[in-house]
Symmetry: C2
Subunit: 217 residues, 2 copies
């Protein structure tokens, strides 16, 4: 296998999204007991062409073996390296409403190496308590905990009106990446990344699928 | 404007995802007070090329005006028609744990025309109560409520171990599309659509961005 080239910042976002999907399918394939797979199988599982799969992976290196295809475990390791999830990421979570609590209990984060190390709130009733085994702190302790735990990623689950000011506090505390669940766009400096999660988009995709399914003869 | 052609079921999924993003940006642009936009502006806001924007929209028709660009309100209407969100969708939500409660309170669904008409649980303590103004029913009432309200879409927020059996009950009750938040893949018949939401994927995208940002010289 050749060494992957330096990852360029010009890799299209859509390719990076698909890498996550390839990673999930590879993890499923391994769980189902197979050691190898192919661009055809990966493509079929996800509804892409095999050419698309090969082209996407080619941005990062040459991972296939002639006559074998991909060795699943090896490709999982490589994709995790590319995504930065070959290491554990300590994460802080701000906002302990229903969504924040739901996210604290979400098993999918831990499975992919994201460990919530602390939760933050302003409601005095729950500061000092534990939720899902995680300590809840006052937001004024943010900077200290971020520095002490070398935290780079934060999840924001506060009401829309507070999202921007929380984002600014997170940036000041040294956070490099923010996953924002508030249904509002937040502005961050160029050296910080922000990803917004819009859950209605998924429902829209579903309504598109249903409308087109029912339109079929 | 020419009439859009019949939407083919062969439109790539990635194009349909981007339509949702275009719709959101158009809604923002209108809220900010502009009546028109261009493929260049839309592309810049989302990090795509203007050619990509034009190519995506061309799957569905010819929407631009020479010397003007796109009329925002008109394009919003057209995209909503394509996505099937030019109508209101009644939706049922199954599972009233933290995530289900958070989703009941999520403003983004209502904004895009998805109205949760009923919630379902098996926990007798909350059956018969209202959460976020929505009645909570026993799961055995599912079929009746789905039929009476002509519900086609359902959101599943139950534990992983229950997701498949709930999906089967939903299909039997006449549901055509399922948005699944349980971190497990559900199997549905060919005439039913299922979309899985994997929240860890968004965090992975963020770790990729952060890793590549910090690798820059």
């Amino acid at each position: 296998m050749t060494k992957p080239p330096d990852i360029e910042s010009t890799v299209p976002k859509a390719v990076v999204s698909r890498l996550s999907l390839y990673l999930r399918e590879l993890q499923h394939i391994v769980r189902d007991g197979s050691d190898t797979t192919s661009s055809t199988q990966l493509g079929q599982l996800l509804g892409f062409s095999d050419a698309q799969v090969r082209k996407d992976l080619a941005y990062f290196g040459q991972f296939g073996y002639p006559g074998i295809g991909y060795k699943c475990q090896e490709l999982i390791t490589e994709i995790k390296k590319i995504m930065g999830t070959n290491r554990a990421w300590p994460v802080v979570l701000v906002g302990m409403g229903n969504l924040g609590r739901a996210l604290l209990g979400y098993k999918g984060f831990e499975q992919q190496g994201f460990h919530v190390v602390a939760a933050f709130e302003v409601n005095p009733k729950i500061i000092g308590t534990q939720i899902e085994g995680i300590d809840v702190y006052h937001i004024r302790n943010l900077r200290e905990i971020v520095i002490n735990n070398d935290v780079k990623l934060a999840i924001v689950a506060v009401p829309s009106g507070e999202a921007q000011s929380i984002a600014e506090e997170l940036v000041q505390a040294g956070i490099d990446g923010i996953l924002n669940f508030a249904p509002v766009t937040i502005t961050v400096p160029d050296n910080v990344s922000a990803v917004g999660v819009d859950l209605a988009i998924e429902l829209e995709q579903l309504s598109f699928a249903v409308v087109n399914q029912t339109q079929k003869p």
